[in-house]
Symmetry: C2
Subunit: 608 residues, 2 copies
Amino acid sequence: MPDTHAPDTHADTFRVSTGPLPSSRKVYVPGTRHPDIRVAQREIDLEPASGEAPVAVYDSSGPYTDPDVAIDIRQGLPPLRAGWISARGDVETVAGRAPKPEDNGRRPGAAAATPAFDRADRPVLKARAGRAVTQLAYARAGIVTPEMEYVAIRENLGRRALAEKMERDGESFGAAIPDHVTPEFVRDEIARGRAILPANINHPETEPMIIGRNFLVKINANIGNSAVTSSVAEEVDKMVWSIRWGADTVMDLSTGTDIHDTREWILRNSPVPIGTVPLYQALEKVNGRAEALTWEVFRDTLIEQAEQGVDYFTIHAGLRLAHIPLTARRVTGIVSRGGSIMATWCLAHHRESFLYERFADICDICRAYDIALSLGDGLRPGSLADANDAAQFAELETLGELTTIAWDHDVQVMIEGPGHVPMHKIKENMDKQLALCGEAPFYTLGPLVTDIAPGYDHITSGIGAAMIGWFGTSMLCYVTPKEHLGLPDRDDVKVGVVTYKIAAHAADLAKGHPAARLRDDALSRARFEFRWRDQFRLALDPETAERFHDQTLPAEGAKQAHFCSMCGPKFCSMKLSHDLRAMADAEDGMAQMSEKFREEGGTLYVTE
Amino acid sequence: MPDTHAPDTHADTFRVSTGPLPSSRKVYVPGTRHPDIRVAQREIDLEPASGEAPVAVYDSSGPYTDPDVAIDIRQGLPPLRAGWISARGDVETVAGRAPKPEDNGRRPGAAAATPAFDRADRPVLKARAGRAVTQLAYARAGIVTPEMEYVAIRENLGRRALAEKMERDGESFGAAIPDHVTPEFVRDEIARGRAILPANINHPETEPMIIGRNFLVKINANIGNSAVTSSVAEEVDKMVWSIRWGADTVMDLSTGTDIHDTREWILRNSPVPIGTVPLYQALEKVNGRAEALTWEVFRDTLIEQAEQGVDYFTIHAGLRLAHIPLTARRVTGIVSRGGSIMATWCLAHHRESFLYERFADICDICRAYDIALSLGDGLRPGSLADANDAAQFAELETLGELTTIAWDHDVQVMIEGPGHVPMHKIKENMDKQLALCGEAPFYTLGPLVTDIAPGYDHITSGIGAAMIGWFGTSMLCYVTPKEHLGLPDRDDVKVGVVTYKIAAHAADLAKGHPAARLRDDALSRARFEFRWRDQFRLALDPETAERFHDQTLPAEGAKQAHFCSMCGPKFCSMKLSHDLRAMADAEDGMAQMSEKFREEGGTLYVTE
């Protein structure tokens, strides 16, 4: 049994959620160009009697679901990419910035509440002078990195098998999804700026993943520190728990004290890219007074996080002084925290945003560590009334300008999007983003398609997320049921992640990703053949599926039964269809089928 | 406090869920053409200090949420429409069909487990010989019935107020949604067959409602009897609980024993139209042997339910003998219970479906009681693999033929639709239905946009429901989290209804219904102004919204606080936006705004 609740019951230890999902094995697929690559994927074994092959699924959960890996968060994960990074010969070890008390929000001399992670064996790396160490730079130089081959294998999951079985359909709205993903295709998409592979050279623990319109739609989960944390394991487990259910990246949005040390623990133990909003930490360093922010404090924070290994930065550089008056008559003003911080700064100084003016300097930093930029939408609408307004689109236009600057610096970039948008205005967001930002990946929050359902905003936003994912968004930022109301707990995080896996997968299906329907078909066959356990195993959330089944039919025998609780044993439509199929298999025509059936007693249902 | 859990704690009484929703009042709007009409709607009162007007919302909950009405389910609801029906002079009291033991699935002489409802003061009505007593017949004759005026007022909710404030937007895909709903518009839509007003003359307790593409999107909740029922109140409360959260109609899909008597209790206490699948009861009468079904048994069941007051019948008359072989190679065969019953019958007798052959006779019955037909999609796909296949569309074509026959008999008709459909194939369903069925209302189950999330199928289907609602579906049949797995409990029903209210409302917004956004905007203003209690009150589920908020910030004072648990008091983007707005209100330009702000200390946030 997976030891999923360890952190709750043993909060004083260093244990996190481990163990495989039901009936699942970890398999590692080797590379061809780079034979040392071992791409992790999950295979779900089905009932042997079914004759069904195992179903391979994309696996974001990292080594935590591999029973052969001993997990010790004090050691961190193995630095999978360390050899690949050093082999390129373009980085050097640096002393690194000395930690400061304010990095953790502590007064000078105050004792640490969180123990420091022992990073002795993980040097701080930086690009050698003048070198661009980004996947974009390599891609443009025609180099297929091990990271690129890794994602090619990872994305490719089952496509060959499917290609033999069915014709592709789907409507991709101008995306260019290949039948088979090659490493060269990955390189080309990165070189064009249509995809990013977030991979800070100081975060060698990541299993490479890609974000782009021609790949599988990804999801992000946000986590943040707790007011009262009893252990670092609890903080690390928020990340582990999110990726267990399918989060492809995790954003650490912590504020307050101990955020530097907590982030270090998360990074050293995270197999997925970690994103942050550096502005939040910079604000802490000036005691929450936005107008006291300076480029120097902000720059120092970028270096601090770059050296720790943050893979992408949300930077609200598109919110310019001139945009602010456009928000004055909005129903919900500025709802982005980063956006409102910068608006405050701009007004206080009556100056153009320092993030905008210093954007090239920010790119120089990102270039030296391969940090991707996520250009924040500080003016995203916080209500339907403000959707697609002048403020939002003015900022988007600026984000397009900034994209070009990032690309000029060999920096990978994606664009953040709304927010609250009614269904009929969603596509305009996607179309404008593609046009203004040169097809750089879009990364959206929802959007929520109505404002009237607090408590259910994973659903209001899941509807919008599925649609905008279909239209072309590359990564969907999850929303939990607690959105607008409170802080998500462990169950909320799981519901948020599963809801967004639904949205992302629905988008993949509609776009016509060649392998997307394999799992649906396997589950539907299991359903039709009354393989209840296989239904649970193939579900996004096997535990909930089994629990719901057992609430009505708890007996173990019911899991072998050729009926379910909806129609009961007396008349089951699925059972009947089996008999119809058997009859159709006979070649002797409908009249004889009918006769045979009546001779056999005419009972197509299971008698009680 | 609403006494919502009475049935659980006093299962031996006749109590059901009553009491208003938080801060809500029942108001009754009088008619103009028919001054005795009193149209129920709900008004939500907001904080007096806010200066906000009460928000009027559509109210499906009936008298149960009116504290001035004494509820006694032994008496049933007042027969609201009795006078309107008799005033038309086209019905007569008949003796009615004598109840039979098999109506309740009992052996002759067996004792009743469910007490019979005392219907002494509610005569059984039937059309006088040759008369068509349907709303369609009246509409075609140019008559605006009280029912039609009732729905005009009911649908019109707030439209005038909105029309003054904002321009309409939205994409209605060819719908013809008026700025203002007049009784004449209602009549015209019914006459064209584009809308139905289900209103059996033997169910005078209904508050009239309309189902059609040019009206608000409606939702249906399914209920069924329990294996062990401790009281009729529990069965009635399933209906009451569903409409409390927003179900516009309720389908009683009970099977087994006591279904006649249970249905009587539900009908006499239901202010919303009740739908059934008469085939289910007919099957019970032949002991579950589909091939033993006869037209005579089926016809007798129609009369039985017609006299009780069922408002719409699902009839699977579109599944023809020749369609059955089209399903043999499907991944999930025939998943509709009604469909598989009829397929079994057709094969057993190698005959055309008696529902198809006797369809005109069925229409004659419906015409004499004003029962609307819901043409069942017996061949709806049960998996993505089977979506939009030859079997499904062959049946849809037949449903188009049957629609014409129903209209020829003055019978109101709507068409049922899928099922499991990936997003890119949803619109084709809507477009084909409109083309083949002459714009008769579409009534769809979901559709589910992926098969891989059992336990979350309210969400997989909510995504498809919102989209197909936008494209033109008139009523959405809800799906609960227990779909495919087990029987929904009280919480599942609520989650299913609220999810579908989200989908229906999102569709209304996207179609451009003039009044749809009033509630969103009111809630967003409340959010922006930190009126926490108003946020809860305006939410689809005020109890859950408040509970989620209180999990993080339980103190009563937090509900007056100008911050929330997401950003905390130190830096709140909403608070900041208020200050920005205040500054923008000053006329003296940006530079002065900035200066003033700094003079005031530069603190835009609430200090701790």
